[in-house]
Symmetry: C2
Subunit: 221 residues, 2 copies
DNA sequence: ACAAAAGTGTTGAGAGTACACCCATGC
DNA sequence: GCATGGGTGTACTCTCAACACTTTTGT
């Protein structure tokens, strides 16, 4: 079979965008403005253009939806079962992203009526096989939290250890011992002291910033 | 942009097939019989047919190349940079496979002049971005060896602990202490005793088989 | 002075690591 | 009886988990 007359599947990227907001782990979903699954919630995504790389496509979609910078973005898995899109053969390369909820604004595009943050514990029914993709992303997210410094991408540059611990507690949905948590994190030698936080009505906490680059494998918990 | 008039990239699967042979970790490469990169070594792969899933495509390629059953197959990563194939835009979904070298026969197809096992330590120059893919596969392989039972897919159903240890030593290219290795593996409670091996000119070793399914995460080493 | 969150050490259990000799069989 | 791998135990170190009180600030 030659290269040109070969019947090609369509290729999309879908991005599972996580953030922490209101003490909860949230995922960004968009309400579909076109068929199929019009009016249903879905993970944001779109077709890969012929002259952009997969990661470029993912970053473009991310920017179109959220306008954020400073994101952690990682390829998740490629879903290519037959019949996952009623329009025909569509293979999707799924990514997951972690954004700091402070500096983002949701947008709406032609394909999208509405974008909204949903708690990962209260999801609506999803279009396509997006529930499967989201579940997979959550698993990977938790795994990455255990072995890498991705958690820091959900925080501002300077942060306190309590803020970091809160993020871990939200993602794993369980409490950690404060002393053990701090001991563990500090023993990794990945943090720099950055002065103290002012204007809090209690003992002012130590601020830290990350020495290394986000996402590196460091065996966290 | 509508679904049909959308210019689509081509989609291939490439499979990094590992085995242990002659006390070495080997990878299967094929000599390309067609342009581009004709005559160069490459990871086996091919176009995804419009009516087969990605994993089906990978298994088909695997069968076409090796005729093996009882393989461990896992999706690795999807490579989609521009210019990775001179013929045009080609996205490849890479898989990696572990096969037991005992029951396999290499084949040749129209696209392939020759297939051969190469030591991962002595690789020829590779076509496309296949060196990058192979390096990535090796990293993932070692990681999987630490955390899962994939190693067992390189062994026959019944095996001795020394055979298992040899596989780990080859993959990590270092020696492990016999007593500690055995203690660790046995403490996982994933093995069943299966009688003793006969016809060896030394003390007959205990044979074991795996209780659980191959590839599960079990925190091995 | 009180509310609120920050910060801090010790102990016990379990896992990992280092290390050397006897055992069962085939020839 | 000897060559060949098979099989076994102990002591030390290090990491992980459990646990409660004092400190510093703003109001």
């Amino acid at each position: 079979m030659s290269f040109e007359d070969y019947p090609k599947p369509a290729v999309t990227v879908d991005i599972v965008i996580f953030t922490i907001k209101d003490n909860d782990l949230k995922v960004l979903l968009v309400k579909r403005g076109i068929e199929p699954f019009k009016g249903m919630w879905a993970i944001p995504g779109g077709f890969v253009r012929i002259n952009e790389s997969l990661e470029d496509a993912a970053r473009r979609e991310l920017r179109e939806e959220t306008g954020v910078k400073d994101v952690y973005l990682e390829q998740l898995y490629t879903f290519g079962d037959l019949g996952r899109d009623p329009r025909g053969r569509v293979i999707t390369v799924a990514y997951f992203a972690l954004v700091n909820s402070e500096n983002l604004k949701l947008k709406a595009t032609t394909d999208v009526k509405e974008a909204k943050w949903f708690s990962v514990r209260k999801l609506p029914p999803l279009a396509f096989d997006h529930e499967k993709i989201l579940k997979y992303a959550l698993k990977r997210l938790r795994w990455k939290f255990e072995y890498t410094t991705v958690a820091f991408s959900l925080l501002p540059k300077k942060f306190t250890l309590s803020e970091l611990q809160r993020i871990y507690e939200i993602v794993f949905n369980k409490k950690f011992d404060k002393r053990n948590f701090r001991k563990k994190i500090l023993s990794l030698n990945i943090l720099k002291k950055e002065g103290k936080k002012r204007n809090v009505s209690h003992r002012p906490p130590q601020l830290y910033s990350l020495k290394k680059k986000i996402g590196e494998i460091v065996e966290i918990l």
